[in-house]
Point group: C2
């Protein structure tokens, strides 16, 4: 049973706070183990990668087989059924066209004093994309991480994916080929992150590392941050569905369970103004859970972390939703745009009854890498902006320096920074 | 003596790598001490703040005096000399007008299938601005951190500044008043960061914490990250000056020393194609060092971390500069725009002989909070973008779901995510 909260109950605020504060992840402390692995890769290069891959992935590699041959990529692509290839291409095309609108524009202008100012955006030089192995080796994740980098103009995108006992998901290779990635390594874990950060004989270091991974990968990304850039560290997935009683309970139950099947730590929350509808969704979820291949995972998530919030009026929804700050927010109500205008904190919003969140996971065009664990209050989903950086520009001539210099000298003086003042004064013969 | 590297020397690459890899900060391990402080503030609230402020700042506070009264802010403002006030106002106005151009635009559009997509930007709800105390209590830092937040539309900006034995820099209060900040606390260190992150009886929690600080403040920001957003953790300041032999050596020496006076760990690098000019700059720096009030700091920085790189031709400059990825980059050459077009990694660029970097510290209009320690390869200076976040938007009707649904179902199928597929299929009666 998911927990049930009713906004008119006297203990609602306390229960809501408990829901917000509940820890869903038991973060294993792997920092020391990861530090040792990163240190070994840094010191020993390829030899460490080969040894660690033998130990952790049960795979015997050599320096020559760390990288996946283009023949193997082509073969995976050729073997992909046409309907799957078509779906991947549809997704790739839609994600590309949406992200192309995110390219920031350079700005260069001259102000009234004649000072030239501006901002120039440039792509990061190279990106390392981590793709998990095993069950979580998703081709959609390749598209969502690689396309914004490509659109940003990143010149080199290298990918790595662990091959447990040699097995690679051919669809991950096919997705990489569709994205134009041909530099792929068959290593994983903290050792792959370290190789991207510091480089080895075979793998050139990158400027930024992105992509999801397990606790070892996340810890390694945190440890190499600074040497390279990293993306956000994503937590377990979440959805908040705000739904009125006019919805089909089966549709809403299906949406809630689509998050729950990701992970036992995932969280699905229904917020509705109709208690009878809440009951109907709960019943529908129970029925549907029995038929899911990942029913055990979804059941555990829905039971342990799921919640149903019943409010007296949907007017209460924006404030509660902003406190939850969900990764995914479905607005299955009569006027979704009106409700959306009243709230601010969400990674992605899905408007209306015919926009299940899953469309955004695959083919909507927006990115499925989104802020979790209430971080939508201060951060955003993955975009082209994550693969560019800005240089600010100033250009003065002698006249502009005469106009602005005295104010700079005064501020340097009151801050006690002599040499600051002098670097201006010396040019003005002051 | 700064180190001297000459690009034609056989050991140049090794020496250049050593320069890039040199550690300038000895990061004190204060994590455990900070963890204890953060835990106490979280558990005990105001009482912990009062006790820790007594202990660390030698100041006796009560819950009523944690916050600086508006009378005290007004008095500081009134007592500011007119020429200082004018300089602060010039800086404020120029920073504001530059940052107003950084506001990202919302995007909402309908594609060929009739799918509505978009991105909506909203401001973070509240920001806590940390301002250091003592010698590093800079009014310019208040402007540089507060203005982008204001321009972004942040509704609440709270500030905190430690008052050692009760003393507050009145110019910091005056700068806050110019920025429209009236919520100011006289606490500092890890305890102030914890108060912003978790709240106390007197201080409401914020959504994001920004601003520079010592090792305790930096460690506290890292520890509360996730609960709140944080800005970058800035390292010691740096400048790279690329200069030809046509410059006045005294001007260039002044620019190099203006970084060096910040901190013994600061780094100033000259890159030139003229060895005689390099000698002249070095001699000028020795002369100028004797006359600086912060001469000891500047000397230590210039001696221990300063470097002069002599190249055979300025054509070598872009590649070397991009590897250094300097926080500040001065291009004191005949064609600064031409050189700028050839390089990519720099936090801020200062074009031509009449744009000393110090103009950017105060009154240029661009931000002086910039990426250090080679992170300009993958990150940018502080801007309006640091105070907003983006929600991505999808809206389909039944027709669009019929068009896109099958591709989503196919991808869910190959990824083994049943419930994902069902949430689409159930709406299409599949």
């Amino acid at each position: 049973m998911p927990s049930r909260l009713t906004s008119t109950d006297v203990d609602f605020e306390a229960k809501f706070r408990a829901l917000l504060g509940a820890k869903r992840e038991s973060a294993a402390d792997v920092d020391d183990a990861v530090r040792a692995i990163v240190g070994r890769v840094r010191a020993e290069g390829d030899a460490a990668l080969i040894d660690l891959t033998r130990r952790f992935d049960g795979l015997e590699l050599t320096a020559d087989t760390l990288r996946v041959e283009s023949d193997e990529i082509d073969a995976a692509f050729q073997a992909t059924p046409p309907e799957t290839l078509q779906a991947l291409r549809t997704a790739h095309e839609r994600i590309t066209s949406h992200h192309e609108r995110q390219r920031p524009k350079d700005d260069r202008y001259v102000d009234a004093l004649g000072v030239e100012l501006g901002s120039r955006w440039t792509a990061v030089e190279s990106v390392g994309l981590y793709v998990p192995g095993g069950q979580a080796s998703y081709p959609s994740s390749v598209l969502m991480n690689a396309v914004p980098a490509k659109v940003a103009g990143v010149e080199r995108i290298a990918m790595t994916v662990p091959a447990m006992r040699g097995a690679l998901n051919p669809l991950v290779l096919a997705a990489a080929k569709i994205c134009g990635i041909d530099e792929i390594y068959r290593i994983g874990g903290a050792q792959a992150v370290a190789a991207f950060a510091y480089g080895t004989e075979t793998i050139s270091p990158v400027t930024k590392i992105v992509g999801p991974g397990n606790a070892y990968v996340a810890a390694a990304k945190r440890q190499v941050f600074g040497t390279v850039g990293i993306d956000m560290i994503a937590g377990p997935s979440e959805i908040l569905v705000i739904a009125d009683g006019a919805n089909d309970p089966d549709w809403i139950a299906a949406d809630l369970l689509s998050q729950a099947e990701h992970d036992t730590a995932a969280q699905s929350i229904l917020l509705t103004d109709d208690a009878a509808f809440a009951d109907a969704v709960e019943a529908a979820a129970e029925r549907q859970l029995k038929r899911l291949s990942r029913g055990a995972t979804a059941s555990a998530s829905w039971r342990d972390h799921g919640a149903i919030i019943v409010v007296a009026s949907l007017a209460e929804a924006p404030a509660l939703s902003d406190r939850i700050a969900p990764e995914h927010l479905e607005l299955a109500v009569e006027d979704p745009d009106g409700l959306f205008a009243k709230l601010r904190n969400a990674g992605a919003v899905f408007l209306g009854r015919h926009t299940p969140e899953v469309i955004g996971d695959y083919v909507g065009g927006s990115n499925h890498v989104l802020p979790t664990a209430r971080s939508a209050r201060f951060s955003s989903g993955l975009s082209v902006l994550d693969f560019v950086k800005r240089t600010s520009i100033l250009k003065l001539g002698p006249e502009q320096l005469r106009a602005l210099g005295p104010a700079a000298i005064e501020l340097a003086r009151v801050e006690g920074l002599d040499a600051h003042g002098r670097s201006v004064a010396i040019r003005l013969n002051l």
